[in-house]
């Protein structure tokens, strides 16, 4: 905390302005070089350039509606808080991306509750990709009955907004016993065709549930055939790959590709390998909201790059 009152006041003002309760880190991506900026620093120095751009979209992830164990008995409440954060943003994002595990057990009632909660978002455009918890009903139909339309029930699709090309992928089907997620040859062929002919200067955003690079294989934190996807993306000047699944922020930059996993809105998980298995992490109540949150992505022009900001509920 700075002893300079004006800086402190400015910091408070900006945090309030953004309606983000906690200090986040802003990543400005330019030419593949990641420059992390402390939010407070951005508030005083880079405020105009870093803060006044409208967010292009907000990513929420791992809402796990239906979860009721001790790590967070009120996941509906923390999703509501997340929605309040988005609704309080002074300039609304164009849309929301939910990177999966909308529900905990794929029950119809959980999907219904989630839809009801998400309908409180003032931003009405919602793009989704399922997590393995959304595909856990025996017929894997509950998710597709509700969100299958965008992808013609395939699970993968693309769209364009403000000159940015977005690709939603599904990597929670066809699990192999090695534990990693998989895209599958059919989806990879589709992706190759989808990207073909696009200008290398088009910013690309790819989103899927499980990490699209291997973070920790023993816990299945990766996608077995993601390297092929990456090979199609390398020629682009700005590629942002967003995932959920691991309930914590892990980031990797490789050339022009930035890989980033989002926090959950429901409960944190242990860091890789810290414990016998991945699962909900019980933390003291006062810490929970600092470990839950969302990511927002801002489009910069000249040149077209994307900036990522992570924010917590408290």
């Amino acid at each position: 905390m700075s002893s300079d009152d004006s800086i402190a006041a400015s910091r408070r003002g900006v945090l309030k302005c953004l309606a983000f309760g906690g200090a986040g880190t802003l990543f400005s991506l330019a030419g593949g070089v990641l420059a992390p900026l402390d939010l407070a620093l951005a508030a005083t120095k880079g405020r105009k350039s870093a803060m006044l751009d409208a967010p292009l979209f907000v990513q929420i992830s791992d809402t796990h509606i239906g979860f009721n164990k001790e790590a967070n008995p009120d996941v509906a409440g923390t999703l509501k808080q997340t929605i309040d954060l988005v609704n309080a943003m002074p300039v609304k994002p164009a849309f929301i991306v939910h990177t999966g595990d909308i529900t905990h057990l794929s029950k119809a009632s959980e999907f219904d509750t989630a839809a009801q909660l998400l309908s409180e978002l003032e931003v009405t455009e919602l793009h989704t990709t399922p997590g393995e918890h959304d595909m856990a009903d025996a017929s894997a139909s509950e998710y597709f009955n509700r969100y299958g339309k965008a992808s013609a029930n395939r699970g993968y699709y693309s769209f364009d907004t403000r000159g940015v090309h977005f690709v939603g992928l599904i990597n929670v089907l066809n699990f192999k016993p090695n534990g990693l997620g998989a895209l599958g040859s059919q989806q990879l062929e589709w992706l190759e065709a989808d990207l073909k002919g696009r200008s290398a200067s088009t910013p690309i955003v790819v989103f899927a549930h499980m990490p699209l690079w291997t973070i920790y294989e023993p816990w299945g934190w990766g996608t077995g055939d993601a390297d092929q996807m990456t090979s199609y993306l390398r020629r682009f000047g700005s590629v942002t790959v967003l995932n959920g699944h691991i309930h914590q922020i892990v980031q990797k930059v490789e050339g022009n590709l930035t890989f980033h996993t989002a926090r959950s809105t429901a409960f944190p998980q242990a860091t890789a390998g810290n414990g016998p298995a991945p699962g909900p992490l019980k933390v003291p109540a006062e810490q929970l909201q600092k470990m839950l949150g969302l990511s927002s992505v801002t489009l910069k022009r000249h040149p077209s790059t994307l900036a990522l900001t992570d924010s917590t509920l408290a």
């Binding site: 595909m135 017929s139 597709f144 299958g148 534990g179």
Partner: protein, 146 residues
């Protein structure tokens, strides 16, 4: 379930017949349990003096008990099980985390099993069946049917 069919088609045999059979099998089980309960309550009404049979299992008299695999600490126990053709295996999740039972080649699949939920499948063909938890696919088990 009609809207999911294109998905199955796209991803290649995601939901072949055996999976549907597993679902039907589950509903048969619950219908059977239901029938047992109805019979039990009729018996109760007809003979109120008799001690009410509290365990419907008493009316089931299969020759051998169902082999049960417990799911505990993110692992199937036992990891490998050998059973005769026609045997029914049941899985019970003891973890607070949900798990599923999914045959690798889609011969059977459970829904999400929350803590203390069970799933059963009757193996009518000899062979080796590998299965995973689709939520934690590092969990792998094998059923050998001889």
């Amino acid at each position: 379930m009609p809207t999911v069919e294109p998905v199955g088609a796209t991803f290649g045999a995601r939901l072949p017949q055996p999976a549907a059979r597993a679902v039907r099998h589950m509903s048969q089980i619950s219908l059977h349990a239901c029938a047992v309960m109805i019979v039990a309550s009729f018996a109760h009404a007809a003979a109120p003096a008799a001690p009410a049979p509290s365990a419907p299992a008493a009316t089931q008299a299969p020759s051998a008990p169902e082999p049960t695999i417990s799911i505990h600490d993110f692992s199937f126990a036992p990891l490998s099980l050998t059973i005769p053709v026609g045997a029914t295996v049941s899985w019970k999740n003891l973890d607070p985390e949900p798990h599923t039972v999914r045959s690798v080649d889609d011969q059977f699949r459970s829904g999400a099993l929350d803590q203390n939920d069970s799933f059963s499948f009757k193996f009518v063909k000899a062979g080796t069946y590998k299965y995973v938890c689709s939520i934690h696919p590092q969990m792998v088990g094998t059923i050998t049917v001889k």
